[in-house]
Subunit: 219 residues, 4 copies
């Protein structure tokens, strides 16, 4: 069965405003297509995603529908523009909402629905900030149940200061960015397939019991 | 064949000074032993590792011997104390030296010697800074050829301000830290085994050629 | 004339939900009162602050009213809870909105309305992340026109893992946190007074002209 | 009396190797000269600075001599190249050594020798990482007793990926970098003068006593 990759576009701009991050995602989709991986993108800010730390923040919250798409995918990529030298506030909001995944652990195994999925990061900006954003997101992905492959990211940034962003700067013709994109996509697809066939056997509940036995604190 | 895990202890203190990070590593080794994973620790500061960005910085540099141990392992864990709310200067030095791995890519496939190895992080401090350290190190691991499993880390920190560190604070009896340690170890061992049996097939050289074709810049 | 300090509470929780950050701010207000500094707090999430990078994002945007309060103050403190080991998404949103200040520079001097104001940071969480948050916010403050005094921050965090936050943990009785709070408040008040009497004379426009003269790029 | 500015060049490369950071510092020195501020640079890696967290790590440690230069200056600028998207290991080492300043507090006032000095940051690299470095260093400066002025930094970075660094990229002709440099220098000089004439009156010891009174914990 074909693999499925989901992009969460964390631009600050609602549709139909032009999003550089959307253009960058399009480039990644073309490469996934070479490998017959299906792709879908959610532009988060077009939905009413509430601030919070659970999987459902109540009336009107549209995060649950987005989270369902994550659960239905094998690969998830957080794609964010750079603001203030870091991921966008929307990307941070998304990260915070993923904390809810811990409450959705399987009763028997303690594994979250994200186990055996592969995570990656794409960052674009007119300048400096990509690696800070990637670092934070890699940590989030690992804690939220994703596995992070070799070279799990690609980014485009220009020179110090104001200047053209991905589209105007022809980021889609920038070798370093494309090289990382190719490697990211191929590595993600490989790892997703491998994990699908060889899923984690970790019984989180059992391990937590072992940890309790050797601990004084119990939380 | 048994898996092998290597810890790089990035304490600032030379042997035989007491290292909290060493005590934390000992705890992890016990858990790896449950899974018959062999372990070894290098206390980096006991060796003359030069500042630099290559795999060999010349006369007297002892990094090459440490790097050889990494190549001989299936699992690598960067273990660092917290200073200034971040990984230690020694851990940063180690990260910088790993940039040399890019020059050791296989001629045909372009894959570095670290491909198919699994990476993780352990952080201890008397207070605040673990997640910043973990974030940066997760990014480094991925860029340097390692795969980062689910929950690829464990950490101990105390309350805000000066206070007891891992040993004195009985971090080895702190449930949250032990829970993460158990999950980290089991997840790493699973992923290392799976990658050994299903290694990345990525031909980096071929992908880079594809990237060149669609790019104007060529570096 | 009395100095005025403004707190921006960047909790994720709308009133009337209990906010640990609000309790922490109350502690700071008591100390400012000792120095006859007037204080006011805005709980950002109670207002409809749009995502964006300008001082006014159009219809319904309530950031302009908050920004006006900043302009009317001598001291501003960003107070944020920790989520994902970093400042909250709301605090990031606030940082992004401050980029609009660059478009409000004085026509003649090029100085923004924030020049000669003093900035600081307060962070509270149940665990790890304070220093990462403080670091990013200190950079933002400096770039957005504020001056950052000695020890411009205070924070409360507990041990690694889930646990009580500021209120339940009695952060208001934690010496390290109170000590930093006292020093932060006294240093801020001193610097605010000094800058009021000895404002920056920097003519940004003139300096930018000098910079243009020695540069090839012009943006 | 003339102000004095000290640069700590945190390059990884020993003299006489070419240092891009040194070239960047030269540009800043020219601007300080316009304001009759004396300048001096220490290339840290040329000295035997031990890993550690005190002001004197014993036999052969050359940090004490560097620290004395800091004490003799009104302005200090940490200048660092980017490696791994962050400040260099040498810059991290320097930050860790500054923790020793807390043990040098004035017996009566509790103020460290750095009080009333102004701190700033310069970062150069071939690509991404400047703002992460600046953020961490701004936090360090504030905690170590320095005051951080408006726009307390300048940086040069090129496009994503390998590429020319400051010298080869003609960073000294890059408007954005020069603009920030001019503003940094003028703001630092103003604030240093103002703080010299209006030093902090904070009695840290007295404030700490006040904090103890309202606290249960005593450390």
């Amino acid at each position: 069965m074909a693999l499925k990759a989901l992009f969460l576009n964390c631009t600050l701009k609602k549709s139909p405003e032009t999003s550089n991050t959307a253009a960058f995602i399009t480039q990644a989709e073309k490469i996934f297509a070479e490998l017959d991986v299906q792709t879908e993108t959610v532009r988060v800010v077009d939905h009413d995603v509430k601030f919070g730390n659970s999987s459902d923040e109540g009336e009107g919250d549209q995060w649950p529908a987005i989270l369902q798409k994550v659960k239905d995918s094998d690969i998830m990529i957080i794609a964010t523009p750079i603001w203030r030298g870091d991921r966008s506030a929307v990307a941070k909001l998304v990260a915070e909402r993923f904390d809810g995944i811990w409450d959705e652990a399987d009763e028997e195994t303690g594994r979250y629905p994200t186990f055996n999925k592969v995570g990656g990061v794409m960052v674009d900006g007119n300048e400096d900030g990509a690696k800070k954003a990637i670092s934070s997101i890699c940590f989030d992905l690992s804690e939220h149940g994703f596995t992070v492959p070799v070279n799990a990211f690609s980014y485009y940034v220009g020179k110090a200061g104001p200047g053209p962003a991905y589209i105007e700067a022809k980021g889609d013709r920038h070798y370093f960015t494309n090289r990382n994109l190719y490697n990211m996509v191929y590595n993600m697809a490989h790892l997703a397939k491998v994990l699908k066939e060889n899923p984690y056997q970790t019984n989180v509940n059992e391990l937590n019991k072992k940890a309790k036995k050797i601990s004084d604190t119990q939380e």
